[in-house]
Structure formats: C-alpha cells, structure tokens
C-alpha cells in the first residue's frame, strides 16, 4: 500500500517558497486535514515547505508510526503537530517519543498555532512550537448567544 505522505515543497500561493530548506515540522492527522491546513498556512503566510503534511488515512497504527518516523528522520524533524489528542497520529508520535526524547508534540493544533510556528523562523524549533501553543489557545473564541 502506498504511503499517504505528500511532500509539499511548493507554496500553494506561488509566493515566497524556499524549496532548498527542509521542512521544520510535520503536521499529522485525519483525512485531508494535514493537507488542508498546511495549504491554508501557505496561503496566509506565503511560506511554503515549512510544514510537511502526513495523513493517517488508510493506515494502521503501526504504519502511521513508521511513516512519521521515516519522514522525521529524513529531514531531521523534531516537531510534530497533530489534530486530535486521542487520534492515532498523536498516539504514533507518543510512541516515537519513547525512542526520541528530543521530539516535541503539539496536539490540537489549529491554524493560528501553525501560523505562529511558521513565522518564528530560525532558532529552536521546539521552543517555537511551545510558543505557538499559546497563540493557538488564545485564538479560540465563541461569539453570539450562549
């Protein structure tokens, strides 16, 4: 079975794309969520290739772990963003963390989280991920009648 990994090294906006730099984080989750949200990040930020989307679609838990591990090792990626705390991608990253204590996992990632991470260019990716969590949390709001 072919892996559901798509190396998106070209900006969807065609703007400021740096194809020479490896991705700095993996965005993993259900269905087309990783591709959709990475596309949105690129459209807003104009920065392509920073995030590598990986879907869990059609994969067993073990296969998800294998795919994520391979993708991370290939580009020396330390940071993972996942969509759902109880999702299979999150559990797979937790298993990877058993072997790689340097890995930072952010789960429940939203668009604001990823944008903050992408705009924090350079420096420690793990620290950038932790800062982006606060941004993502603050972006959640409800309006209208209770």
């Amino acid at each position: 079975m072919s892996a559901t990994i798509f190396r998106k090294m070209k900006s969807s906006t065609g703007e400021t794309t740096d194809e020479s730099s490896p991705p700095r984080a993996i965005v993993a989750g259900h269905g087309d969520f990783p591709f959709g949200i990475v596309s949105a990040v690129e459209q807003i930020s104009g920065r392509g290739g920073v995030l590598l989307p990986v879907s869990n679609k059609g994969l067993s838990g073990q296969d998800i772990e294998t795919q994520l591990k391979a993708a991370a090792e290939q580009d020396g990626i330390q940071v993972f963003f996942t969509d759902l705390p109880g999702g299979s991608a999150t559990l797979a990253v937790r298993r990877i963390m058993r072997e790689r204590p340097d890995v930072v996992l952010v789960t429940g990632a939203n668009l604001a989280t990823l944008l903050e991470f992408v705009f924090q260019s350079g420096g420690d990716c793990g620290a950038a991920a932790r800062i982006s969590v606060e941004k993502g949390r603050n972006a959640l709001a409800a309006f209208g009648p209770a």
């Binding site: 079975m1 259900h30 059609g58 994969l59 067993s60 838990g61 073990q62 296969d63 759902l84 705390p85 109880g86 999702g87 299979s88 999150t90 559990l91 937790r94 298993r95 058993r98």
Partner: protein, 167 residues
C-alpha cells in the same frame, strides 16, 4: 446496560472510536481487550491519554474480559468494547455467549491481506476466523463510523450465512 458496540479495530483507541462512535452513543467507558496492552503499563498510559477525562478506560486480557463481561454489561453507564484483531474478538465471542453483534471497524493493510473495503483488509486465516464468528451466530458487519453504511459480512465474504445466536 449492554455493551453498545463490540468493535475490531487495529488502532484501538483513536478519533473514530472516542469521538466518531463515542459521542453519538454517549459512551462513558471503553473496555480495551488486548493481551499485550493488558500487561504493559506504558501502553496503558499511552491509550489513557487518548480518551477524555470523563471517559473511563478499562484494560483487560481476554480471560479477564470473559470473566468480567457480566460486570461490563450490567454497568448502568454506556460502554464500547474494542479488540485489536479478529482472533481476540473470536476468543471473546466464544467465551461470552451474550455477544450478538460485532462491528469490524478497521483492519488495515499489511502483507498477505487483501482489500475488502476501504478500511478492511483480510488475510485468508482472518477470513476463516470471521466466518467462524458468523457461524457461531453473531451478526458481523463492517462500519468505520456511524454515518457510514453498515456493510453485511455477506458482501465481504459472500459465502457467510449468519444464524441467530442463542445464549
């Protein structure tokens, strides 16, 4: 209250189980039946983080699940029981005569398996095990999420002929 769903799913605890089924069925607890997970604290911690705090997660090996099944099914709260594979569910079905229905929720690709549905791949020995479960009088259907069509086993394994199970 009877267990609301007996599910075979190689991912065990994940979004489809906790949210996809858990929310519409208003589930309060999940029984995870897996001999390997039942004896590994680290694995249990991992799966525990996959469920919301208000949902109880019970770990059991097959023998314990058979022994404690009456306790699960008499719990006033609603529960799901999940196994990682067909052989585990088969052992459970043979040990618990009250199980009437089994949901095949996710058996993904690996070498030797043939695709039956988008989310169901079966090896020949697994086909035989599923047929055996059906022959024991259990209704077996495939359905990954509640909104999807419930696929009868006769569509996946054409010669399956279910018979009503009597406890």
């Amino acid at each position: 209250m009877p267990i609301a769903l007996y599910r075979i799913d190689d991912r065990l605890i994940h979004g489809q189980v906790v949210v996809g089924w858990g929310q519409p069925l208003d589930i309060d607890f999940i029984v995870l039946v897996d001999d390997n997970v039942a004896c590994c604290d680290w694995e249990q911690d991992l799966y525990r983080m996959g469920v919301p705090p208000e949902m109880e997660l019970v770990f059991a090996d097959v023998a314990t699940a058979i022994r404690d099944h009456d306790k699960y099914s008499s719990d006033p709260r609603k529960g799901i029981l999940v196994t990682p594979d067909i052989p585990t569910m088969q052992r459970l079905v043979y040990g618990v005569p009250y199980i009437r229905e089994v949901n095949v929720g996710g058996i993904h690709h690996r070498d030797g398996r043939t695709q039956k549905l988008r989310y169901v791949f079966l090896a020949p020995d697994e086909e035989a095990q599923l047929r055996a479960i059906v022959q024991s009088g259990v209704k077996v259907t495939a359905q990954d999420v509640p909104a999807a069509r419930e696929v009868p086993m006769s569509e996946i394994l054409p010669s399956s002929e279910p018979e009503a199970r009597t406890a």
